[in-house]
Subunit: 249 residues, 2 copies
């Protein structure tokens, strides 16, 4: 399982990914799911969820290059001229892996299960955040809904729905994303530490933060504890239901 | 869609169900999903999720009676001698509906989608809470995990995981269940008001509360507002991430 969330706020981009993979409950491992492609004129980050062999194949094609069936040209992320172009390229790479591996996976009743978050900026172009589906199509985060999630997204969605807007300060967005990750980790054992985080301010082209949160991380432990305590106090502070009418007794 | 949660605490049983059904996003209706079977020696409550025709057929068999294929006797919930027996009977009714409707549903590519919560007490026997699956098998809530959910369960699970134990006071359990319902309603439009709630104290055999929360309900509106405000204050009170190391800048 996996949980990754991307937040695109006024000041910039936040990406947060867990690192746990599992092939059955008895085969759990740690793999980095947040990948950075940097160049002098670009920062492009990709988070992946789904079948690990598919996501590694997609990343392999994007860094080593693959032939565009329409133009015959070799495509790599380093050549993308905009983030929209990069999203198209990621979609093409997903379709290429499907062409190669899809039929065999189907013969073994394995779903072609993959989703990716793509965020970043190329010099002179806009900072953008996309989610790419298994069919290679994609959607983009906007000011109305400034976050996108892949993997085990439901447990951590309520806090995002309540707290994140386009105007949210970038380190608050990181904090709320970490609370969302905490909620997911508590309810799904398939999502676990360490957590990789990326903060990229708009128009800087250099990640301000590229950090791994491990099991001993004092701030994240404190966040988890404070959030738990605050929720406990919050529900204790709400009065008990006064309902009496409709009682049959 | 549906969300129902049952909580079995030391003092008794709480059941909470929404009432929204949908056949596609453009066909939304309101149906009661929390059903009460009362007798002088018993209170048995059932909440349903899944295909409405299947859950109505199951409830019909349980109240009108159906032939037990193993004994040839007519089974109705009124005849159940214990809650375990009642759970077996609900499972048999689900299997009977599958026998009648399953093949036709499959021909039309409709899943046999049904799950039920069964809670209550029969005089001289224990108050218990079960979840019955589409295959007719079932599990029971215990002191370790005193709640069971059916339908859209993920959004509302984190608050239950954090806040509910077997020792939780019964109206606190109702309150936490309503917070869980609120989180679900915010994130899934397929779950909506009104909400039906039932409170049954252990060994009383009479529901203390059998109540419908509508759109104008002052307490529930206040709970939703207070919870939102408390979450907002909670995340504002957590310090911003101090992470600086690992930065590439």
């Amino acid at each position: 399982m996996t949980y990754c969330v991307g937040l695109l706020v006024k000041e910039g981009l936040v990406l947060i990914s867990d690192t746990r993979t599992n092939a059955g409950i008895d085969n759990i491992a740690c793999f980095r799911k947040l990948h950075l492609f940097e160049g002098p004129d670009r920062v492009v980050a990709i988070s992946t969820s789904g079948n690990l062999s598919i996501s590694q194949a997609v990343l392999g094609l994007l860094s080593e290059g693959f032939s565009n069936p329409e133009t015959g040209e070799t495509e790599t992320l380093a050549k993308a001229t905009s983030m929209f172009h990069a999203a198209q390229m990621v979609g093409q790479a997903v379709r290429e892996v499907y062409r190669i591996d899809g039929p065999s996976l189907e013969q073994h009743n394995s779903n072609f299960d993959i989703a990716l978050l793509l965020g970043g900026q190329i010099k002179g172009r806009r900072l953008r955040l996309f989610m790419i589906y298994a069919a290679g199509n994609f959607i983009e985060a906007t000011a109305d809904t400034p976050y996108l999630q892949i993997g085990e997204h439901k447990y951590g969605k309520p806090v995002l729905d309540r707290a994140v807007t386009h105007e949210t300060e970038i380190y608050d967005a990181l904090k709320i994303g970490l609370i969302s990750m905490d909620s997911t980790m508590r309810s799904n054992l398939g999502v676990g530490l360490p957590i990789d985080v990326l903060v990229l301010r708009r128009d800087t082209l250099i990640p301000e933060l590229n950090y791994r949160i491990g099991a001993e991380d004092a701030y994240f432990s404190d966040l988890r504890h404070r959030w738990s305590e605050a929720l406990r106090e919050a529900h204790l502070a709400i009065p008990k239901p006064p309902y009496k009418n409709g009682a049959k007794g």
